[in-house]
Symmetry: C2
Subunit: 420 residues, 2 copies
Amino acid sequence: MHSLLLAAGAGHERIPVLLAVLALIVVGAKLGVALATRLGQPAVLGELLAGLLLGNLALLGGPDLRGLLVSEALLLLAEMGAVLLLFKVGLESTPQEMLAVGGRALVVAVAGVITPMALGFGVGELMRADEPWMLHAFLGAMLAATSVGITARVLADAGALQTPAARIILGAAVIDDVLGLIVLAVVSGIITAAATGVALAPAAIAWIVAKAVLFLVGALVLGGLVVPRLFKTALALPPGGVSAALALGICLLFSYLAARAGLAPIVGAFAAGLVLEETHAADHVARGEKPLEEALAPLAAFLVPVFFVRMGMLVDVSAFASASVIAFALVLTLAAVIGKQVCGLFAPRGVSGLTIGIGMMPRGEVGLIFAGIGAQLMVAGRPVVDAGTYAAAVFMVMATTVATPPLLLWALRRSQGPSR
Amino acid sequence: MHSLLLAAGAGHERIPVLLAVLALIVVGAKLGVALATRLGQPAVLGELLAGLLLGNLALLGGPDLRGLLVSEALLLLAEMGAVLLLFKVGLESTPQEMLAVGGRALVVAVAGVITPMALGFGVGELMRADEPWMLHAFLGAMLAATSVGITARVLADAGALQTPAARIILGAAVIDDVLGLIVLAVVSGIITAAATGVALAPAAIAWIVAKAVLFLVGALVLGGLVVPRLFKTALALPPGGVSAALALGICLLFSYLAARAGLAPIVGAFAAGLVLEETHAADHVARGEKPLEEALAPLAAFLVPVFFVRMGMLVDVSAFASASVIAFALVLTLAAVIGKQVCGLFAPRGVSGLTIGIGMMPRGEVGLIFAGIGAQLMVAGRPVVDAGTYAAAVFMVMATTVATPPLLLWALRRSQGPSR
């Protein structure tokens, strides 16, 4: 029992410093967002920049905060941020909506996954020939997934959510996310198997895909049956944050289950969001509780920036000192842009292919999550995604994120013609 | 750079399990609160019970979740909960209000600190004669501080916040908190010094007290000058959560500075709350932002239960298997109740001494924080507060917390006479 109480106090010494770092993250993110907003850029860019600055204070003679990235505490807060973000994205669409945009969105999504993957792999083979093929595979995976969050936000800000192009972009971006996450599971699985010295049998690859599909189908079907009943049952509890606590509990539980199924926690959070609808909480809202998204928004407002600032902190600016890293970052960004323009070729008649191609362009959080996971996968004592490639990947994400809002606005206006 | 990226991934394996534990904490706390509410008990009791259950699942054949208490991540979330709670308590009063209740509250507070400390020390000398004097000192400190949060909530729920008795209780409880925290700093300092083998010189004790006072005065005076200007300057940022982020940043920064001054982070959070007033954010609220307390409430609603559930998890139920622990818990509770009744002797004419004595009774979070810190202080490889004493302290906190609401209601009605 003594050892237990001792253990309960372990790491207590670092808590005040972590509180100070959180203060820097909270205020730094706000300043970064203010700067980005002033420059007409999306908020996520400002948070990445704040993290970049905080993580590289040592270059300016400040303290080396990057040492704190080892903290499980900061990692958990950041992971919760990613989980809440994907939960929110899932919450904003239904399984039915995903099915309704159907065929066209699926074709656009598949084209928008395969082409960038091939380009990313090719760029790796050409410019990172000395690195193992696993890095090339990861580069492909990193370029695959569109950031549905950034896309949706830009379309909403432009008041264009109800255009045919927007519906196809959003549908395809959602499918893209799922495809990208399956790709990630397969690539990680192959690499993990390789790291332990065995080749991954085709049956094992099939099992990874099957587990991912089984989890998604199971979560959507079983979840679709159980979740509404849970909200009904929870009406027996006295009102006051009941629906928000239940939604958060389901989101966290699904994240855990996804990880148990070999997927990333964010896949589970996204599935939980798809299953959950605001209508499930309607009776709770009638009792005076807030709608789910509104209730969870302040928590997300604290945790999501922790994720993006921490991601920015991971970037070692000194990695850009090499001309080869800069060249690599530019070529990777070019591959990312070209890869998604192929989506435009599958636009239906009367819908601007250019708009769709640009709308699918931003990589945002999912690309960063891929890069982060790649940086954590160890093969022969080295991370699959090295610091230079990580820096290039973050550059690619930042560049596609910065370029999308003005370009998409321009494409939307152009396709609507001079009548506007 | 490779080792950096590796380090960034350290502990990643445990993240999904922590997400699952957080799901259990969020839902378990809500169920516990529902049960407590149904039984007419305060919410905090339900959260402690939920933690007690989660921490002792192994006794019921379930998994041993108490092993996860070593996690720095859970500790940081819990500490942030305690910090936000004390910040909120501080936010609800001003330095001026503390001065206004003045002399009478100070006398009540001092009597309500000295008597329970003497009783706690005496109980330790009698019933824990084999343990070092440090434990006895900690028992005294644990009994000292009234839980201003629980007291205020009970008075508010009873609609009695504006009675003379309530004003004296709240003023004294706030002073009590500060006195208690100074007591804690002195006791911890003496014990830490003893642990390193040197006796603490009187000058060193004076320095501990001076540091605490200097921090509080500095935080209140300097903070009082700087904080309103910070909120004015922040009006230059585009609106949207600016005031909440600034308040949270200030709260976390003060917590860090308090720890640097040798105090607990919660002292800093409380000082930040005292300095901050809703009026500082008035211009931000006029721009469409929420008032500070409303803006931070959802974050507190998530983090505060993590603190209390984790505190409950720390209780090893098997520690109660010993009759001596049960007897000790009962005597400690008796000392806690009697110690605060002395406060009633200093009630002014026309104010019920019984009401004041009962109102000062609940120990709540501060007592638990003391017990937790004592459990983390190591002397000669053993924690100062052993598991049995910790269990007895939690019993004392729970008993005074449970007993206060009904007793205080009864005393309020009795003092208002049969006219009501």
